[in-house]
């Protein structure tokens, strides 16, 4: 009776969470829904006389794998939402038909089989004194070769991940000297105006007013401006609102390429040989020539 209650509660929860995983628009919600499914499956394992697998499920899946998923989601960008354009016509419809047909087929197949009462694991487990000793006995006797192969697989996977995720640094890291030179050769040698300077508000999303009264678009962070535009939190003053909109529409404007470009365009300033960074001493391999190609 207790098992039936546990099963029905967790079955409803896990199927609902699985639907949420497939249908939620945001990838982070999908990850959380998958976590719910994995946790309910862990409880179902525990109910079905598999306490070791329940622990492994929680540690490996909800602990390690889900953390890795969320980590990569944050790395790739949470706001990279799905495109709704179907590349194949009617793909979504036929996918649902296929999924439904597959589920019905499997359920009918299972329903056709007369399954008696489960034999239970108490007999198999009692010989060796518990679930974990039983599993250990099997792993280290009959399945010991598979176990060894598994270790090779894990090492290969770790090595593969390192090789795939590694990126060679093409140009030497810009030194403080390079950065400051790029800054003085760039558009803004001085720091950008802070938000709220000479403004009527000191909120962080309010553009600064310059001493002559014009609105400075440089003073607003584009991320904050984008949030303002998306949430409709624009100020009443049309000039300020237009400035925020302009900043938001300016799109991805990262500072890093600008610095690199400025370094590349910088004329070769004669500097004493000892002042140059070590990588630049090699003729033809300096940062200036590298970028200019």
């Amino acid at each position: 009776m207790g098992e039936a209650i546990t099963f029905w509660v967790l079955a409803v929860v896990s199927v609902a969470a699985a639907f949420g995983l497939v249908f939620s628009r945001k990838a982070v919600y999908s990850a959380l829904m998958l976590g719910v499914v994995m946790l309910s499956l862990a409880v179902l394992y525990a109910v079905q006389e598999a306490p070791f697998l329940a622990a492994v499920q929680i540690i490996v899946y909800t602990g390690a794998v889900m953390m890795l998923f969320l980590f990569v989601l944050m790395l790739v960008g949470v706001d990279s939402s799905d495109s709704l354009v179907e590349t194949i016509r009617g793909q979504r419809f036929w996918a649902f038909v296929a999924g439904l047909g597959f589920a019905v087929l499997l359920a009918l197949g299972i329903g056709n089989v007369v399954i008696g009462a489960p034999a239970g694991l108490s007999g198999a487990v009692s010989q060796v004194g518990g679930n974990v000793p039983g599993l250990a006995h099997l792993i280290f006797t009959r399945y010991v070769f598979v176990f060894e192969v598994t270790s090779a697989l894990l090492i290969t996977a770790a090595l593969g991940a390192m090789v795939l995720a590694h990126r060679e640094r093409r140009e030497p890291k810009p030194t403080q000297k390079d950065l400051s030179r790029a800054r003085f050769l760039g558009d803004h040698p001085a720091p950008l105006p802070g938000p709220g300077t000479y403004a009527r508000h000191n909120a962080i999303d309010m553009p600064a007013l310059l001493p002559d009264g014009t609105v400075s678009e440089l003073s607003v962070n584009r991320v904050i401006a984008r949030h303002d535009v998306e949430d409709g939190h624009l100020p009443n003053d049309p000039r300020l609102a237009q400035a925020i909109r302009n900043v938001a529409e300016a799109g991805v404007r990262t500072e890093q390429p600008k610095v690199v470009q400025a370094v590349a365009e910088a004329p070769e300033v004669p500097v004493a040989e000892r002042d140059k960074p070590a990588a630049a001493r090699v003729p033809g391999d300096g940062p200036v020539e590298e970028e200019g190609k």
Binding site: A27, L41, V56, I110, A124, A157
Partner: protein, 98 residues
């Protein structure tokens, strides 16, 4: 009761399959593959209990190991694709080149 578990496993597997077919974000596709693997594990554990021996649980354990290795390599591939194409959509990775 065994039938119930097997039907739940089949349902989760089918939902995961639909997700793989429908979603375009590579990471979500990966999550759906994980869901399918988990559904298989549930079936393995259920059969282990039904037949009264532990081998089903052993297989489920090895499936978990393989799934963990697969996730590590797969996510590294997704990160690499994202670096070169600035997108995690499976539709954008349609050219077989570096």
């Amino acid at each position: 009761m065994t039938t119930h578990y097997l039907v739940l496993s089949a349902l989760l597997f089918a939902i995961g399959g639909v997700g793989v077919l429908v979603r375009r974000n590579a990471i979500v596709v990966f999550m759906c593959v994980e869901l399918m693997l988990n559904a298989c594990n549930l079936a393995f554990v259920t059969f282990a209990r039904q037949h009264g021996n532990l081998e089903g649980q052993i297989i489920a354990f090895f499936v978990m190991i393989v799934a963990a290795a697969e996730v590590v390599v797969g996510l590294a591939i997704i990160v690499t694709i994202f670096r070169t194409r600035r997108s995690a959509s499976v539709d954008d990775a349609n050219l077989l080149k570096y």
